[in-house]
């Protein structure tokens, strides 16, 4: 799981990408991104999530997002991606399913 907090923009997107790529490189096909602490998400961060989603799918897995912030849900809806990711509104909803190391970005 990668935990993302604060404003996730062009400055933070590379760290998010690196964290997710590291987990993929370790062999995890299904990843979880905890966006519960995120307050802002722009298209560069969204692009990282879309690319990672494709990598997960290629490896036979999925990229799950844990998100509750209305602003971020709005971004997903505007871009038509709200149905592209498995979405969860709490960590409880995925309890027992996460794998891999946990890292925090930024």
């Amino acid at each position: 799981m990668v935990v993302v907090e604060g404003e996730v923009d062009l400055a933070v997107a590379p760290a998010l990408r690196d964290g997710l790529e590291a987990l993929l490189a370790e062999g995890h096909a299904t990843l979880y991104v905890d966006l519960l602490g995120a307050t802002f998400l722009d298209s560069t961060a969204l692009g990282v999530l879309v690319t990672t989603r494709e990598h997960c799918a290629n490896a036979g897995g999925e990229l799950h997002l844990i998100v509750r912030e209305p602003r971020i849900l709005k971004v997903l809806q505007i871009t038509g991606l709200a149905t592209a990711f498995p979405l969860h509104d709490s960590l409880d909803a995925i309890a027992g399913n996460t794998s891999g190391d946990e890292s925090t970005t930024p």
Partner: protein, 146 residues
Amino acid sequence: MSDRDDRAPSDRPEVISLSFPARADLVVLARFTAATLGARAGFDVEEIEDLRLAVDELVVSFEAVQAGGTVQLECTQAGGEVTITCHVEPGGPPLASRDVGGEELWGADGELSKQLLDALVDQHGREHTERGPSVWLKKRRANVTR
């Protein structure tokens, strides 16, 4: 103490000019400026948040076709409408520096950025001026009609 409320929307045009190096960690300055002007224009919280994201997308999408330099924003509010124009003076390191991921990041999100701008503002576009290419957006307060 003055009776004047500095936070009240004003019909007088207010202009903020902002210039900063084209660095990823400084795009927050554009968001902060846009939010301030949106508040001055009488935007509600959701409209301000929309404007913050829109100006971020404006700067970021513009930088995709630029090679770095200095970002120059001209932000105007009048009568419940905010207009922001972004221009980049060439020179210096690109915003999408090596550490940021460069083309790999840009290539993934150009269309997403356009979708967001389409949804968040009333108008946006690109144009060529005598200073070079620029991008702009306009966003009106919800209860303002033109």
